[in-house]
Symmetry: C2
C-alpha cells in the first residue's frame, strides 16, 4: 500500500444500517465509484443489497476511508464505537438528533451528521441515489474534531449533491426542534383539539377546509420515530414547546384585549417570515415565485407543469395553497427568475392569470 | 301582481357588496336566470358589474325574493337592517362569524349564513359562479326563524352546488374557531417562534423542510380580515386557544416524563383524525386515496394528473405531502373508488409505485 494517496485511488466506505437513508447513501456512493461494504441488523438485507447492486460486499471492512452509521438513533453509539475500534477511517452517523450521540461517542475520528432528506419509502425499496441532491446536510463537530475530517466529510456530502452546514450539536437539536419536532407535536395537538369537538358534532370535520388540512398534514406521519425523537431531543423540544405556548398565550392576551395593532404586527411578522422561507434550491436570490389561481376544471396542474416542461422551465418547488375557507387553490411555483417571463407568457397564452415576484 | 307564485316566475335578488363572494353569488344566480340587482360601497363597482354581466341593474330592489348582504363583517348589521326595512323578501348575510350578527339583526326574515368557500382572488375579477360547488354552506337560524325561510335558502344554496348545513350561530362560531381561526393563529405563532430563533442563526430557516412549510402556509395570508375575525369571534377563539394551549401543555408533560405509551396514543389519535378528514366531495365512502411517491425528475405531476385526464379518472383532491425532513414528496390523489384499479394500472405502467386505500 502506497503512502501517497492517488487522486485515482479506490475509495472504500462501510455503511452500517441499510434502511432508507443508509441504502440511499450506499447506492449514491456506489454510483460515484466508491467500493461500498454494507451490513444490516437483518442478516438478509446485506446480501439483498449486494444483489441489487447497492453495495459490493457484506460486512465491515477494516481499511476504509469512511464508515457511515445509519442505524436507528438508539443504536448509533454502540455501532459507532464498534466501527471506531474495528476500522481505520472516519466514522459518521446520520441520526436526526445529535447532542446525545456526540456526547456518547467522544472520539476525534467521529463526526455527527444529519442529512435533512428523506421520503415516505422504507428500506432498500426506497433507495434513491439522488435523495440528497439540493438537501442541507448538517455536520456537528466538537472542539476536538480535526478540520481535515470536517473538510473530507463536507466534500463527500457535497459530492452527493447536498449542501454541508456546520453547527454545534446543541444548536442543531434546538433548530430541528423548532422547525420539525415542535411543529409535528403542534399539528397533532391541533388535530386532537378538533377531534375532541368532533365527538359532539361531526359537522366540524366537514367544515375543515384547505388551511386546516395543510396544517395537520404532518400529523398523518408514523408515530414510531417520533417517540425516539422526543426522547433523544427532549430538552430542546420542551424548550420549543414552551416558546410556542408562550407565543400562543401572548396571542391570546392580544385577542382578549382587542389590541388590533399588536395583532396586526404579530400576523405581519409571521407573514414576512413565511415569505422568506428558503426553497430547496441553494440560491433563493435567483428564484421567482409564480402564483397561479387554479380554475375549477379538470387538468390545470397537468397543464401548468406540462407547460413548464414544454418551455424548458425547471420547477424548483410547487405548492398548492388553499384559501382560508375554501378548497380552491393557487399553485405556487418556484422557478429560475431568468425564466419567469418565458413561463408567464406561456401561462397567459393558456388563459391563466399568473403573478410573479422575486423570492428575495 | 298575481298572488300565486308560478314555478316559471321571474326570481329577483339583491346582492349588497360585490367583493369576491358577493360577485360570485351574483354571477351564479344570473347564470341561473335570476334577475340580480347589485350595489357596492364603491359607486364604480355596481355599474362595472352590470357591464360585465354579473347583474342586471344597480341598486336595492324593493320587491325581491332574497337580499344577500355580502359586505365586510363589521357593516353587515346596518346593511341587513336597511334591507329588512327597504325590501320585502328574505335577507341573508355571508359573513364568516355569525353569533354577533344574528344577535344584532334579530328579525324572523333574517337568516345568517356562511359559505365555506373562497379563493385568493379579490372583487369582480375573482367572480366565479362555480365557487360554491361542493362547498359546505352553513345556515344559522334562531328559534324565531320560520322553517320556510330555512327551506328556501337551503334550496337556493343547493342550486349553487353547495351543501347546506344548519347549525346554531354559537356552534358555527366555535367550530370555525377550531378549524380555521385558531389554526391560523397557531401557524403565525409557530412562524414567529422560528423567526425569533432565526435572528440568532439564519441556518434555522434553511433547515425548514416540507412539514414546516405545510404548517405555516396559512400564515402567509392577509392579516386584515383576521383582525375583524378575532374581534367578532373573540370568545370562541379564546376558548379554542385555551384548548390548544392545554393540549400542548399536556403533550409537554408527556414528553418531559418520557411516557412513550401515552405519547404514542396521542400521536395515533391525531393520525386517525387526520385520515378521517372528509374531502371536498360529498360522499367520502365512494373515494379512494392513491399515494404516489414522486421521483426526482421533471414532470411527474404533469404525468400523474395528465394520466388521470387521459383515463377519464376524475381527481377529487390532490395534495403534495412532504416527508418529515426532506423536500421529496408523495402525491396524494383522491379519486372515485370505482376508478382506482384503472388509475393504478396506468400509474404502474408509467413506472410509478402507487398504493391505494379506501377513504373510509
Amino acid at each position: 500500500v502506497s503512502a501517497f494517496v492517488s487522486t485515482n485511488a479506490v475509495r472504500r466506505v462501510n455503511v452500517v444500517g441499510l434502511g432508507l437513508i443508509g441504502a440511499s447513501i450506499a447506492l449514491a456512493l456506489t454510483e460515484r465509484s466508491w467500493i461500498v461494504t454494507g451490513v444490516d441488523a437483518d442478516a438478509a438485507v446485506g446480501p439483498e443489497a449486494v444483489r441489487r447492486g447497492l453495495c459490493a460486499a457484506v460486512g465491515l471492512e477494516r481499511d476504509v476511508e469512511l464508515t457511515v452509521i445509519a442505524t436507528p438513533v438508539g443504536q448509533v453509539p454502540a455501532a459507532a464505537q464498534k466501527a471506531l475500534h474495528d476500522t481505520t477511517g472516519i466514522v459518521i452517523d446520520v441520526g436526526s438528533v445529535k447532542a446525545n450521540i456526540v456526547a456518547a461517542v467522544d472520539d476525534p475520528r467521529f463526526l455527527g451528521t444529519h442529512p435533512m432528506a428523506g421520503s415516505e419509502m422504507h428500506g432498500l425499496d426506497g433507495a434513491d441515489p439522488s435523495m440528497f441532491s439540493g438537501a442541507m446536510w448538517v455536520l456537528t463537530p466538537t472542539p476536538s474534531t480535526p478540520d481535515s475530517i470536517i473538510a473530507t466529510v463536507g466534500a463527500i456530502v457535497s459530492s452527493l449533491g447536498a449542501e454541508p452546514i456546520v453547527l454545534t450539536a446543541d444548536h442543531h437539536d434546538s433548530l430541528v426542534a423548532v422547525v420539525s419536532h415542535v411543529p409535528h407535536l403542534a399539528a397533532a395537538s391541533l388535530m386532537n383539539v378538533a377531534n375532541a369537538h368532533a365527538d359532539d358534532h361531526a359537522a366540524l370535520l366537514r367544515l375543515a377546509a384547505g388551511g386546516f388540512r395543510d396544517m395537520t398534514r404532518i400529523a398523518s406521519g408514523r408515530s414510531d420515530i417520533w417517540l425516539d425523537i422526543c426522547e433523544a431531543n427532549r430538552d430542546a423540544i420542551l424548550e420549543g414547546l414552551d416558546a410556542l405556548v408562550a407565543a400562543l398565550t401572548s396571542t391570546r392576551a392580544v385577542v382578549a384585549e382587542g389590541q388590533r395593532d399588536v395583532l396586526r404586527a404579530l400576523l405581519d411578522t409571521a407573514r414576512a417570515g413565511r415569505a422568506n422561507l428558503p426553497s430547496r434550491v441553494a440560491r433563493p436570490q435567483d428564484l421567482a415565485e409564480v402564483r397561479i389561481p387554479i380554475p375549477d376544471r379538470p387538468g390545470p396542474l397537468a397543464e401548468i407543469t406540462g407547460l413548464a416542461a414544454q418551455l424548458g422551465v425547471s420547477i424548483a418547488d410547487l405548492e398548492l395553497s388553499h384559501s382560508v375557507e375554501g378548497d380552491r387553490g393557487v399553485a405556487i411555483v418556484l422557478i429560475e427568475a431568468a425564466q419567469a417571463d418565458l413561463y408567464r407568457g406561456g401561462l397567459l397564452a393558456k388563459g391563466y392569470k399568473p403573478s410573479v415576484r422575486p423570492l428575495s
